[in-house]
């Protein structure tokens, strides 16, 4: 890859990040001119108390001065203090990070593998019963709100059949440790993970299928067949490796959405991750928390985008240059 290409992409990502920071600041500060007033709406605070709070939140001075103060704090890794728990936003986010990564990361990987397998079969035999069935299923999962699917799953499997716990990270007040604690947590994660995997699988299946359809017509497949390779061999050795590229970039992009991917579903299963933290911040409203979460969600997606761009430049010399 040419260094120019890499530098250009990195600068592009940085500019996007800066844009997010600016939006993040001014959205909360300009639309909402005096956060202290709206944060403590309905509470009886003396003018002195309000002034002290304004000082504490860097709210004295002009908007630009406030913005520099915000940027300075940000670069030092300070995202402010949560209004609800009175703890640093970074601590709150740090605690909620791993449950979300475990849940959505697993679901994304699962749906990716299943979606690719479905897409390969569907695209290879176009208009077969399998193709029509799986495409209908994909369209259906695309139309279902994930949180409603979560409600159905919770109602059916946890309440009616009682085969899964109704929510949480582990049994309340559990004293289990080691393997049995892990098994308990996996048992709690299974249902939300299944719901998310179903919600995501359609996208992978559709992309893989349409990429296969493009590949099926290529000359090199005819050649492979003419060589006398069996159908399965042609598919596995010649079609799939060429067709899988769009899915690779889609997956890389979607891993950027792992952090923000389960906002509504987590709240249904009271999964103590970033999604539930977001919902609680909305309920507050806890603006510093919302700001921090939005910044984190955006940064993850920006990074994933950068990774995909660089990956493409690496894999395809026409894009990245030698």
């Amino acid at each position: 890859m040419r260094p120019r290409f890499v530098i250009g992409k990195v600068l592009g990502a940085l500019s996007t990040l800066l844009f997010v920071v600016v939006v993040n600041f001014f959205l909360f500060r300009v639309v909402n001119d005096d956060p202290v007033e709206s944060m403590f709406r309905g509470r009886n605070l003396s003018a002195e108390q309000k002034d002290r709070l304004r000082q504490q939140f860097n709210l004295d001075g002009s908007k630009l001065q406030q913005f520099w103060a915000y940027l300075r704090e940000l670069l030092q890794g300070n995202l402010g203090v949560s209004l609800q728990s009175r703890r640093p936003v970074t601590t709150e986010i740090g605690e909620a990070l791993w449950p979300t990564i475990a849940l959505v990361g697993t679901a994304t990987t699962l749906s990716m593998v299943i979606g690719v397998v479905i897409g390969i079969r569907a695209g290879w035999r176009r208009r077969s019963a399998f193709d029509v069935g799986s495409t209908t299923f994909s369209m259906f999962t695309y139309s279902v709100p994930d949180f409603w699917l979560a409600m159905l799953a919770l109602g059916l499997f946890s309440v009616q059949l009682g085969v899964f716990p109704t929510g949480g990270l582990e049994d309340a007040g559990t004293t289990a440790t080691g393997i049995s604690l892990l098994l308990d947590q996996l048992h709690h994660m299974a249902l939300p993970c299944l719901v998310l995997a179903i919600a995501y699988v359609g996208e992978y299946a559709i992309v893989m299928r349409s990429s296969m359809l493009d590949t099926v017509r290529e000359d090199y497949l005819q050649l492979a067949r003419a060589k006398g390779l069996r159908d399965v061999e042609v598919r596995r050795r010649h079609a799939v490796p060429n067709a899988i590229l769009p899915v690779v970039s889609l997956s890389a992009l979607n891993f950027g959405f792992v952090l923000s991917g389960s906002i509504a579903v987590e709240s249904i299963f009271s999964w103590p991750g970033l999604g539930q933290a977001t919902l609680e911040a909305i309920r507050g409203p806890d603006f510093p928390m919302l700001q921090g979460l939005f910044l984190l969600f955006s940064a993850a997606v920006i990074l994933a985008n950068l990774a995909v761009d660089l990956l493409y430049g690496f894999l395809d010399p026409r894009v990245g240059g030698r």
Partner: protein, 287 residues
Amino acid sequence: MTAVSRNEVFRRFRRDRLAMFGLVVLVLFALMAILAPLLVDDDGLSAVASLDNPTWARPSGDFLLGTDHLGRSVAAQFVYGSRVSLFVGLMATIFTIAIGSIVGVVAGFAGRWVDAALMRLTDWFLVIPFLPLAIVLAAVLGRGIWNIIFVISITSWPSTARLVRAQVLTVKERLYVDRARALGASQLHVVRRHVLPNVAPLILASATLAVPISILTETTLAFLGLGDPTQASWGKTLEEAFQAGAISRSAWWYYLPAGLGIVAVVLAFTLFGRALEEILDPRLRER
């Protein structure tokens, strides 16, 4: 994009069974939304007017879809909820398409630094994750149906802008545009007479596909407690059902209809939009 005659579009469309199915479903839901006051009594929406009703009643002759935790009729909420979903879906799409088209046409036509600046902005908006931005905006702006519409359109215009810009760039180079210019046509005239008619079918297809996304976003925002508190909507019904503990009470009649309604409308729009896109864009026809 080639010009497909209008009759040809209708003919191909009628042959597509899934698209016709989508159209029928949409017409039914539209009728339900428009005729809502004739179909159900809007007293069913009010907790005060429902004080004498049994709470958590199963579906029966009196209440076709049962009642909720406040004794309100679920059927009334379902029928009136369709109004909000369809209204928000359509309005948000109109604004999305309007913003996207204006940005796309201006960028494609102005070229140079205006184009570069607008495309940078578009890229920024494209990369920022859609739902978190919508959530943050809605949380800051407050709850209201127009805020929801604003939030959805301000977060979803970039893909339309790109589509329109690409189309403008190809149309701009055509000979008949040169001819019009040579004859002294103004920029505005060229845009109105030559560019827009050529871009319109593409915009139409992308609009049809933007509606289901808008509806799903409205539903999610309402479920997260960011919807209009004064109006019954499917997302709000689901939120209230969840908060009131409908799941642990196995009150399926409370949370099943709203979800099915969303699925039906979103699926119908998607089937309709995909068929339209396929007919209007020959490259997709083989799929």
